[in-house]
Each structure stands twice: as C-alpha cells, then as structure tokens.
Subunit: 414 residues, 2 copies
Amino acid sequence: MPPPDSSDTTASHAPVAGFRFSAASAGIRRDGREDVALAVADAPAVVAGMLTRNQVRAAPVDIVAQRLQAGSARAVLVNSGCANACTGQAGFEATLASCAAVARELGIAEQEVLPASTGVIGALLPADRIAARAGELVAGLAPGRFPGFARAIGTTDRWEKIARRTIDVAGRQASVLGIAKGAGMIHPDLAPARASKAPSGPPHATMLAFLFTDAAIGRDELERALAGAVDRSFNACSVDGDTSTNDCVLALASGASRLALGASELGPALGEVCSELARSMVADGEGAEHVAEIRVVGLPSEQEARLVARTVATSLLVKTALYGRDANWGRLLGAAGRAGVAFDPARARISIGGVEIVRAGVGVGGDAEKRAAAVMAGKSYVIELCLGDGPGSFGYLTSDLGHGYVDVNAGYRS
Amino acid sequence: MPPPDSSDTTASHAPVAGFRFSAASAGIRRDGREDVALAVADAPAVVAGMLTRNQVRAAPVDIVAQRLQAGSARAVLVNSGCANACTGQAGFEATLASCAAVARELGIAEQEVLPASTGVIGALLPADRIAARAGELVAGLAPGRFPGFARAIGTTDRWEKIARRTIDVAGRQASVLGIAKGAGMIHPDLAPARASKAPSGPPHATMLAFLFTDAAIGRDELERALAGAVDRSFNACSVDGDTSTNDCVLALASGASRLALGASELGPALGEVCSELARSMVADGEGAEHVAEIRVVGLPSEQEARLVARTVATSLLVKTALYGRDANWGRLLGAAGRAGVAFDPARARISIGGVEIVRAGVGVGGDAEKRAAAVMAGKSYVIELCLGDGPGSFGYLTSDLGHGYVDVNAGYRS
C-alpha cells in the first residue's frame, strides 16, 4: 500500500552509490513475511547514530551504542517480529551471534555489523534462524533492493517509508536515501549515541530509520547533521507518546560520490528526508486517519514552543477531537495551559488550516468552527497556536486517535 | 447508578453539622437535568482550596483564588453544563453576577460565595438562568440534600461520588463529607490557592471536589491537611492525562462539632475521603472498565517513584493493554524507562495482583502472564513495579482506555 499523497516514487528508486541491500524471511514473524534486512557498504562507511533515551534499552541498542564508538561500519542488520528487549544476557548473546553469522558470510569483522530489532518486547531473538539465512542475505545483495529492505523492517506499518533527496554543489551531486519503519510506540526521544548525558526529560516510541548517503563527510560533521535533522523530525512527532526500548536512527556515509560536504551542506537534505519519513510514520500511526502539525508560535524560546506543541500533540483529548473532526479549541488551549510554560491566555489566537477560531483567548464563533471542522476532514492540516509575540516557534506532528488505535493496541500480542 | 463495589451508603447519608445543600435545574444542560448546586454554611466557615495549575484558568477559578484569600466563606455555588472557561471579561462578570444573585437571596456578602463550574470550555455562563433559580436554591436548602448537590455537579459521570469519614477523639466526633464529580479530563494537578509559585511541571483534568467538615480547625492547619490529602489522591490519579482549566478542590470547616483538630488529626480522614473520591472518579473514567493502581517501589525517593508511576499510568500503550487484559509487561517497563528516572532494568520485578510476571528484568513466562491476565479481568487490581531497593514508593490510579473512551470523547460536543 502506498502512502497517502505520495509523490513520484520512481525517482526515489534509484540506488545510492556504495551500498547494497537485501531481505529474507527467517520465520521470526508468524506470518511468514520477510523479516530480516541487510544493508552493506562496499567499504567502511562513516557512521553516526541517535538512540533511544529510554532507561530500558534492547540488546541491539546497547550493542550499537558500543559499535558506533568506532566511527565506521560495514553493515546494518535489522529484524522485525522480535524486539529482543528485556531478554537479559541471552538476548545480548543472540544479537551478537546473528551479527557474527552475517559478518562471517561477508568476510568482515563482526564489530562492523550494526544490529537493530523491532517487534514484541520480551521475546528472545532466534539467532539461529537469522544465521540460517545469512548466506541468502549476502547472496541477494544489490544496490536497487532497498524497497525489499524497507518492507522487511516493517511491523504494523501499512506502507514502506522511503525518502530521497539529492544535493547539488557546483554541478556535482550526492544523494541521501532514507528508510524507516514505525506505526506505533511512536514518540521518539533520541540522543546522540556518543553523548553520555542522562535522560533530560520524559521521552517517547519503536521507530527505526536508516539514512544512506554517498556524500564524503567526516564523523563529527555527520553526527552534527544527523542530530539537527532528527531533532526537528523524529523527535518532533508522536503517535501515542510512548518511546520505545528500540528506537534507533543510523546514518552511513559511503563517500562514493567523492563530493565532500560539511554538516551545513548535508544537513538540510538529511533534515528533509527525516521530515518526510517522520510524516509518513505519523500518517501510518496505528489506526490514524489524519496528520496534524501542531505549530506553536509567539513564545519567548523555541524550547518553550516545543514543550507546548508536544503537550498539545500528545493530549488524548486533543487526539480524540482530531478523530471526531471537532474544532474543540477548549481542549487545545487546555492542553497548552498544562505544559508548564507561562503565557497569557487572553492573548491566545488559534487557527486550523488558516481558519481563525480563537482570538484574544475567546472563541470566534460557530461559523468559524464549522469551517475549521471542514478542514479537519482532510488527511493533513496545520493547527496553529499563537501565544504571544516572542520569536520562539516549533512544529510537532501528531495523528488522531480513534477506534482503529484501540483495535490495534488492545490485542497486539494476541 | 451506584459505583461498583460501593460500601454501605446509608451511613454516608447522614448530614454534617453546620451545612445545608440544595440543587436546581437552571437549563444550562441541554438535557434538563439539575445543573446548579448550592452548599451553605450556617456561619462563616474556615476555607482552603487547591486549584488547577493550568495556565488557562476558567473565570470561577480566578474568582475563587481571590476569595480564598479571606480565609472564610459562607457558600459554594456550582454549575455543570458550562465551564465558563476562555470566555474573557464577559465570563468573569457572568460568574460574579451568579454569585451576587445567590448572595442577595442568602443575605450575605457576594465575596462569601465561592463559584465552580464544569462543562464545555468556551461557552459563556448564562448567569441570568442561575439568578432566576437563586430563590429556589435558597428555599430548598437542607442538611440532608447533599446527594442532590452531588447529582447536579456531574457531567459525564455515571454515578454520584460521595464519601464520608468520622474522626473520634476521646469520645467526641467530627465528620468529613466529600462530594466530587469527574469522569473525563481527569489528571488533576492542583496547587494550594494561597501559594503563588509558578507551575512546576506538566499538570493535568475537570474534577471538582468539595469537602465539608464540622471539625474546628484553623485556616493554616486546614490548608496543610488539604494539601497532603490532595497530593496522594486527586494529584495521584489519571483518566486521560489532561488537566482541566476548572479543576478545584475546596474544603470548608464549620466548627459546629466544637471538636478542635489539627492538621495531623484531620489529615488522615480527609485523605481517606479524597482517596475514595479519586478512586470513584477513575472507576467512572469515561468508558473505563478497570481501575489499576500503578505502585512503584524501590526507587531512591518518593518523587522519583511518583514520576515513574505517573508515566506508566498515563501511557496509552499501557492503558490500551489494560483494556485488552493483556499482561504486556514490555509496555509497563518501556513506559517506566521513559520517565526520566534512572534505574537498572536488569533488577526490575513486576507483578499484577501479586502474580510475578517479570523477575530480574526478564519475563517469568507464559503461565504467569495467563494468571496475571486473569487478574486483569477484575474491576480493580494493583500493578507493582519494583525497580530497586530504595525507600521511595508511590501509588497512582489509572483506568483502561478502549472504545468507550473514544466514543465519549470523539463526539463530546456534538
């Protein structure tokens, strides 16, 4: 199934120089679908990662955190159907064993393989099943097989999430290819893998994203570009407010284009790819029918705007109102008011899809609300809360929450 | 409709000395039910209040905040069907006018009337309709009419919330009678009305509670007792994580029993009344079928335990799992891990209704999960997360979230 409003996808099917992809069915998922995916760099690639801040981290996340210290890697091995989280030492060893099996087949060091997993928490990864497919995975590697990679890493996803941008500098080009999965437990709160700081706030969902570029870029520059891109995309979207134990974003740069770029040159393209993937994830939010960008403007700082936007975006009463296509601005303002950020409610303005429904803190009237409700019948729209005249603004993506979400999540394991 | 597992209610129908109650239908609600309630103290009563920390406060909350400064009051005037929030200066004047009308009828100063409202945000309070019923309200006052008061303040409530305790000191008795409403927008974050500090964290729902005691107690002592009682009851429960613009708890002490009490003597009874009311609110959570106490133990401090318990209690993935009666401990542990509190997942133990399902951070097995799932078929149970061996513990009440919640909230205004 294609994403809604998908743009031309033929262009995005071009490969990115220096990488090959494959997928296989290892029987981890019960439905027999492809559930193991492999990406391999022809030569050691520069890597950077952003990992979940959750205190409870799955085995593959712990292992990636260690292996990213090296600054380069050769392969990414991902499975769906099993998160391998909360599986103790046995889980740790299972991830190591599956990486080792693929490394042997590739003839590289096992430390050069970066693992990622998604699926039910608490189930032990069946490393033997992945090992049994290592030969098939490696034999199947091809530059154009990333759509298969994208399919295999999905869980409750209704469509594959692939985005692509090209950077043009003085007639020379580099590409960024992004592949992601995620439809539930989506509210990433990712921190740079190399930073050792403690969690700074309540984080959030499993989303996985893998970014491949043929740009030539140094490790520090890649990390800086990735951190900026993730902060305004994956870290600015929520389906259900729950961070996952497995959230992980990895960026690999092959340098095969021989176009040398800095963070400020790669950053915008990386940011666009991440934003497109984040939007696709929220649109695919379990049971979601609408994507709303909660845009908060006029606060003293971006940080305050982000906090208000996140509080509104994760409010259950707001999300059920989006589902009901109800321009219930009282819920919007009520949620904004509990973010712990000071503002003067008497100056608040709210508009939905450009239709102003609150002015100076009070409702504009039933006619405006009806027009706003008509906007809310659409698949995608912007809700803007203007809370003052400061320079701080932030946009946060959220989905509606209705019966579909309950259906998916009340019986996920059964 | 009675609450589930209600204890003997005949005892709780005894009046509390020094107070009279009444209710009337003023046509604020569309369904014609009683929607205005009045409580009057025979003489000025000592008062204390805990009000929402939401930046967006309804007109009655602003007015109560001012009037509580006096330290005493004569009457509480409550309406359902209209929150009178985000209604600007007109809303402020409407609340003042309704209080003034009742004060005239009672022959007291209008500043002695404490207003409270609940209902849809954004609609202007029809003060004239309340004024038109002022005579009827005052004429109807009687000590035993608090059940009518309880009915009239309800909105989506399925049953009245009334709790009562008696304090016995050396053969002399004082009573505490509590009346509350609240079924949605429930996640109170209340701060003492006299404290001027800014919001300290993301608050939360409309719940209203009114506590009447015939104990003789000073203002400071009453405030201290109330703050302690609210902190572990209303401030420790959540239906949907949304604070309301109208959340308000008021305590009035008539002194009519002539039994003089300090905070430490009144506190426990006040706490029990608030806890019983909070549990009844969560049980009545919109569409809720189960009440779970999320009990976190073993952390270094109570504050950290509260933060983890609140994060688990408000997790959508946890709440949908409760609805699905799924002992999905991965979601419990995942939510705990994103609270921003450090703990060692490898030491975590989790039990549901005493059935241990996680030991040393890993699942005990399918049999235990089946037994835990059987517990989850019940109306009320405890989920305990033991995250270390520290002294900090906290219990937080939450409800399951399923199709009933979506039904109530996706079409609330329509």
